[in-house]
Symmetry: C2
Subunit: 244 residues, 2 copies
């Protein structure tokens, strides 16, 4: 069994179409490379009670939860308060975050800036050594800012702790459409029921019609499944094979 993960994107700007969420795609790619299986992505508004209500079941259901957004100094930054509310703990000022803010802002410190030291009681800082601002972890919930550049920097510093057995992936680009190869794929799954098999039609490329993905954490099993697929596809249907 892989480690599982859920991602919660917090931000009205995404729901209202003002901003395209790039963070879930980043996290999905990174986590897949680490061997972690993302099972859900949820995008929710900046509302305290709702954040708690949605994140608590995520925390119970998956090994790891990643949130992005809602951790700045303004009125719509309520992720920490939402998580504290959901788990029924107090929102406290973390002494180390507070110290860093005082160091950074000196006499320009104010209430809004100090809000960025607030965390749910019991939260820990991780990756402190290497980052201006560390990642806040509360139980299995890793709380990141919404700004992609900062998310990327912080994630890369702590990502090794999430590593699991890798997935192996093969991609077969097929010249026939899904309607032609569907039965071949069904038969493949009868022989290889544990194979992660995807079939994705691609428009607008004259050289192939479908991208077929085969994945497994068992490389030998994957090789056998790929061999069977290549043997059973219609003659001449294979455009290209990609092994990762």
């Amino acid at each position: 069994m892989s480690k599982t993960a859920g991602i919660v994107i917090i931000g009205n700007e995404v729901l209202s179409g003002k901003t395209q969420d790039m963070n879930s795609y980043f996290l999905c790619r990174e986590l897949r490379t680490l061997g972690v299986e993302v099972q859900r992505i949820l995008v929710i508004p900046d509302e305290i009670q709702l954040i708690g209500k949605e994140i608590v079941p995520f925390s119970r259901q998956w090994d790891l939860v990643f949130t992005t957004g809602g951790v700045g100094p303004t009125h719509d930054d309520v992720t920490m308060a939402g998580i504290a509310h959901g788990f029924g703990v107090k929102l406290i000022r973390h002494y180390d975050l507070e110290r860093r803010l005082h160091e950074r802002h000196g006499e320009n410190i104010n209430q809004a800036r100090l809000k960025m030291a607030e965390v749910p009681e019991g939260a820990e800082l991780i990756g402190e050594g290497s980052l201006y601002a560390p990642v806040v972890r509360f139980h299995n919930v890793y709380i990141f800012p919404g700004i992609p550049k900062i998310l990327h920097e912080r994630f890369h510093v702590i990502k090794e702790r999430f590593r699991d057995t890798p997935f192996f992936l093969k991609i077969v680009y097929v010249k026939e459409g899904e309607g032609v190869i569907a039965s071949t794929l069904n038969n493949l799954l009868v022989s290889f029921p544990n194979l992660l098999l995807g079939s994705y039609p691609v428009l607008g490329d004259p050289s192939f019609k479908v991208k077929v993905t085969l994945e497994s954490k068992d490389e030998n099993y994957l090789d056998q499944a790929l061999k069977k697929l290549l043997d059973t596809l219609p003659r001449g249907a294979i455009h290209q094979i990609e092994r990762k």
Copy 2:
């Protein structure tokens, strides 16, 4: 009250980081322009029982639900079966979809292709006149394919039925950081509690630091709120104002 909406993206390829979901961003922008308020986006795997379990509460909670993905002819296309399962109805072959598939494929029709005629019992086709393949609606759930180009075409044909009172939006680009303007924004919300106010730090543009968005369905209220914001921001802090 606006019409509300939830979006469900169905696809392992998104969760495993192989494909970036572009459909939720498209739908969020289009729906916002139509005056519809998207309240949730959820990305889930291609699993029949899970699809039903997640879509039924979405259907109850929001006026409109939009799904993309999982409607092709292969083993991983289980959206229709999932919705039928969730609502406790049969998966049936829709006579009109079946007729279209026979017309299209002639003697090359097969079981896989006929799978694309399957819908939950009680589903209706909409937008038939103008599209090769119509949109399938089941109760308040609008079921779209995952291929962006096809989603766009079909959505544009039927979108007028979703139109509601429009949102008005003003954007103020501010030269000061969030830590400086947070109290001004808080005060603005005391005076205009119904204002939809967003504050988004932007890195890497030397001409401003924060994008502040003000929105309302009441244009007069919005104008008054914008005036108050412009009057109360620090002198010289305004880089640019955008009125939409």
